[in-house]
Amino acid sequence: MSATLATPRLALVKGEPFTQMPLDLYIPPDALAVYLSAFEGPLDLLLYLIRRHNLDVLDIPMAEITRQYMAYVDLMRSKQLELAAEYLLMAALLIEIKSRMLLPRHAHLDESDEQADPRAELVRRLLEYEQMKAAALELDEQPRRGRDYQAIAVWHEDAAKLLPHVESADLRIAWLGLLARAGTQQHHKVGHQALSVREAMSHLLEALQHGDYVEFTRLFDPAQGRSRLVVTFIAMLELVREQLIEIAQNAAFSPIYVRLMYVHE
C-alpha cells in the first residue's frame, strides 16, 4: 500500500517469516497529524502497536516493534510534525534493548534472572501505563457533578444576601479560559493601550448620555495629561467608526459638536 513503508526485506518474527507490512500501518498523509495527536506519547504509541497486532506483551518482538515504531517516528519527521523529545528517547531505548538482546548471554548472569530480559523494564512500564489508561477511561465514565447530575440548592434568604467575591485575577482566569476555548479561530489582541481606549469610549458614551450635542472641547480634560487626551481622542474616533457617535461642525473653525448617533433618527 505504501511504498515508503514497505521495505523489501522483512523480519523473522518468532522464527516465522514476516512477508507483509501490517496494512493498518498505512495512514493517509492528511490524516496523519490528527492520527498522531491521538497518541498520548511513546508508551501509548507502543501499546497501540502491540495491541493492534495482537503481540504478546510479555514476549515483545523487539526487531519488529522497533521497526514499526521507527516508521511512525520517521513519518512524523518527514511531515515535519513537531516531534516530542520523548519519542526519540523511546526510539533510542528500543534500539538499545534490541541490541542487548542480540548479545550472547553469559551463563553466570542467570542467577539474577529477572535482570536477564532486557525488555523487563519496558514491559513493566507499558503495563503500568495501560492500567492507568484504562483507569482514566473508567473515571471518565463515573457520574460527574455538572456533567451528569447537579447538586440541589433552592433559594433562601441568606443565599440571596451572600454575594460572590470576585478579584481581578478571576477575570484574568475567565479570559484565559475564553482564549483557550476560542483556540485559533479568534485573536484577542487587547493590550494596555486598547484597554484605556475602551474605558475612554465608555466615559464618552456616558458623557453624551442625555442625547444633546456636547461641545468637542468639553469632552477633554487637560488636567488628565497628554496621554489621556490622546486616548480620549482615539476613543472618539473609534466611536465614530463604530457609528455610535456623530461629530458635526457648521463652518470651518466654528465649534465642533459631538452627540450620540441613535437618539436622533
Binding site: I152, R172, A174, H192, L195, S196, E242
Partner: protein, 188 residues
C-alpha cells in the same frame, strides 16, 4: 410526555436544581412536545399542593417559579457553617471579563466571543450587582444595548481604573505562539 406524573417529576427536579426562578416559557422549552400552558400550570399547581407543610415551598414570583426555603427554617440555615462563599458560574465570569476588557459591547458581541447564547439571567445578575450598565445603543438594526462596567465594579474589585485590570497583552498572544493551544482547547 403524556403523563402528568412524569411531567411533575421533571419540573420538580429542574426547579429544585435552580436557585433562579424559571418562567413558564423556559419550562415549555424543556420538552420536545409542545406542552400546553394549561397542562404546565396544572402540574405546577399539583406540585405546590404536594409541597405543602414542608420546609421548602414552590412559589410563583414575577420572573417565574422557584422553590424556596420557608422563613421558619431560615434559622437552621444560618447555623450551618457560614455557608461557603458562593461563586459565580463560569458563564457569569466570562461575560463579566468580556464586558470589562472589550467594553462597550453588545450581547451579540459577547455571544460571538463565547460561542453560546448569553442567558438573560447572566446579564441580570451582573446588573443587579451594579457591576455593569447600559451606556448606549449600537446604531444597527435592533439597536442593541451596549454594556460597560460601572464605577462600583472598579471599587468592588479594588481598582482605580480599568487599566489596572490584569494586562492581556501577553495572554492574548497565546493564540498564536503556543503550539499547545489546540490541546488546551480540550483540556479546559
Amino acid at each position: 410526555m403524556n403523563n402528568i406524573q412524569d411531567l411533575k417529576l421533571i419540573l420538580e427536579s429542574v426547579l429544585l436544581s435552580s436557585r433562579e426562578p424559571i418562567s413558564i416559557n423556559e419550562m415549555r422549552r424543556l420538552f420536545d412536545d409542545d406542552l400546553s400552558i394549561e397542562l404546565l400550570r396544572r402540574a405546577l399547581d399539583e406540585l405546590c399542593l404536594a409541597w405543602q407543610g414542608r420546609g421548602v415551598e414552590l412559589v410563583q414570583i414575577a420572573e417565574g417559579w422557584r422553590f424556596q426555603t420557608r422563613p421558619e427554617y431560615q434559622r437552621y440555615l444560618s447555623r450551618l457553617n457560614p455557608e461557603k462563599q458562593p461563586k459565580y458560574s463560569r458563564a457569569v465570569m466570562e461575560t463579566l471579563a468580556i464586558i470589562a476588557y472589550k467594553q462597550p459591547v453588545t450581547r451579540g458581541d459577547i455571544e460571538e466571543i463565547r460561542g453560546v447564547t448569553v442567558n438573560s439571567q447572566i446579564i441580570k445578575t451582573l446588573e443587579e450587582r451594579d457591576w455593569i450598565k447600559v451606556v448606549g445603543h449600537r446604531d444597527v438594526p435592533g439597536r442593541p444595548a451596549l454594556f460597560a462596567t460601572t464605577a462600583s465594579f472598579l471599587s468592588d474589585l479594588n481598582l482605580r481604573a480599568l487599566d489596572e485590570l490584569p494586562a492581556l497583552l501577553d495572554l492574548g498572544s497565546l493564540t498564536h505562539a503556543n503550539p499547545h493551544t489546540a490541546e488546551l482547547n480540550l483540556e479546559l
